[in-house]
């Protein structure tokens, strides 16, 4: 269980997070939504120890995250940030095998390779495994990084805008993979996401932020309502319901 309490963060004089507290439900996809500058990515970075908060604490399974060894955290929690441009000659399989580093320190055992192959299968990258990363398209590269995170086999998977720069097909593919991670493997996924409809369609829970504070923290269908969305984003919304899933229209209103 991930909990965070009274988290504050300032960049210079600007307060990006203002004493926020909450917890992340287990075994679900939680989407962090909100306008630009709301503090979503900052919160995600703090939860995943990439960034140090000014105040407050994050607990992972009832232990303060700053007191847990880095390598231990890496077996429980993984994080993937937006920009993944590497100037390295690496094959997809090599990259995915790095996911086993916390366990094997670079000397992969039989079981580790099995895990790598399973991750490649899971993200449907088996036929690309010997291709070099710099020869892949953006969508394929993003999926390769996702596959590395899957090979890391952590309880919690944190992703910062995994759909950035992806076309519809790849976006759907990534979201379906995340869905399967939760439904089939019982992982907990937390994503920062901009396209509201992806959040509405694929996530179980939504944490909506605005101006460094949590506005709503509820099940997806409870947050996807005209009034609440208008409050968060400041524009009009029209909501269409189809098979118990909501679709938001915010064009030409």
């Amino acid at each position: 269980m991930i909990k965070f309490q009274d988290i504050s963060k300032k960049y210079g004089e600007k307060e990006v997070l203002k004493q926020i507290s909450s917890s992340i439900p287990k075994g679900k996809i939680t989407s962090l939504i909100g306008p630009n500058g709301a503090g979503k990515s900052t919160l995600l970075s703090i939860i995943s120890r990439l960034l140090k908060q000014d105040e407050g604490n994050v607990t992972l399974m009832d232990r303060d995250i700053s007191s847990i060894k880095n390598n231990e955290i890496a077996k429980q929690l993984s994080i993937l940030k937006q920009s993944n441009n590497l100037d390295l000659k690496l094959t997809v399989k090599d990259l995915v095998s790095f996911g086993r580093f916390p366990y094997s320190k670079g000397r992969l055992t039989e079981a580790d390779w099995e895990q790598v192959n399973r991750a490649l299968d899971f993200s449907e990258l088996k036929e690309l495994e010997n291709d070099y990363l710099d020869e892949l398209s953006g969508g394929q590269r993003q999926r390769a990084f996702l596959s590395m995170i899957i090979a890391q086999d952590t309880e919690y998977v944190l992703l910062d805008e995994p759909l950035n720069n992806l076309d519809m097909k790849h976006s759907v593919k990534v979201m379906k993979t995340l869905r399967r991670l939760v439904d089939e493997l019982g992982k907990t996924v937390i994503i920062v996401i901009h396209e509201i409809n992806f959040a509405a369609q694929y996530s179980d829970h939504i944490l909506a932020m605005k101006d460094g504070k949590i506005k709503y923290n509820e099940a997806t269908n409870d947050v996807i309502e005209c009034e609440k969305l208008k409050d968060i984003f400041g524009i009009e919304f029209d909501i269409i319901e189809k098979e118990n899933k909501k679709i938001c229209n915010y064009f030409n209103l």
């Binding site: 995943s48 120890r49 990439l50 960034l51 140090k52 880095n70 390598n71 231990e72 955290i73 890496a74 077996k75 993984s78 994080i79 993937l80 940030k81 590497l86 100037d87 390295l88 000659k89 690496l90 094959t91 090599d94 790095f98 996911g99 580093f101 916390p102 320190k105 670079g106 995170i149 890391q152």
Partner: protein, 316 residues
Amino acid sequence: MMLRRNLIILIISLLAIIIVFMLYDTGKNLDYVIPRRLLRLATLLVVGISVAYSSLLFQTITNNKILTPAIMGYESIFILFQTIIVFIYGDKTFEVINHTDNFVYAVLLMMGFSLIMYFLIFSKGNKNIYYLLLMGLVLGTLFQTLAQFVQIIIDPNEFSMIESYMFVSFNKMNESLLLMGSIILIATLAICQPYLKYLDVIALGREHAINLGLDYSKLIKIYMIIISLLVSVSTALVGPVTFLGILVTNLTYELFPNTKHKQMVWICSLIACLALLIGQFLVEHVFNFSTTVSIVINFVGGLYFLFILLRSRKTI
């Protein structure tokens, strides 16, 4: 198995050049020539390994293939230090301070500099590694200008003493310096050994490294200390060799793509030794000592650097 073949070719050519270097045109005075050549050979090997190791480490932690530790200003510190010593003691310099002490002070000074820089920048928390590089660049320029200023006001005769430090030369070596350099090199490599496996992950960048469970800032600190030790060794032994690092690391990436750093450091060292030996051989037998090996290396390295730049522009 391309890689294996490349490695074998590399090792054979290194052995061949060592033999040629030692035995070509020795003349009759073997007792004199052979020990002197051995000394130069050993120095070249120590410098080659230091430069290769430090450049490869530096490029990995900065995620940049066209940087060398020179950007951090180590070499300008070294020159400034030599200039100030000569300024203070004048032509009596080497009566007051012998080569070995000079070497030890230079090494300590360069290490101290990199530690101070490191703590200045990282003690405040999550500063980016590029701050460190930019600070190094600016301070390096400052030291260089200071050194130039002092050089202008000192006696021209004394200036020629400094000048010998500013250009690489493998001809001025002496045994005690080489011994110290080798000890520092071996000790540093021994310290470095357990940390080599993390380099592959560091190469993925800070965020991935932390995600995969590394204590990133502690590791960077360790690598910076190792780099400053190695740079000190090579600079204090023969002076600045700027382009050698770029030349050998990029040749390594090209000839041995997708290799683990554990092996890469040694391959890179092999290439560096090979480049230095060929350069020195040319200096001794083709140019008849009319130039120095640094000029040869910088010329070839510079051309290669331009080639890399032009090529990478094409792929973007």
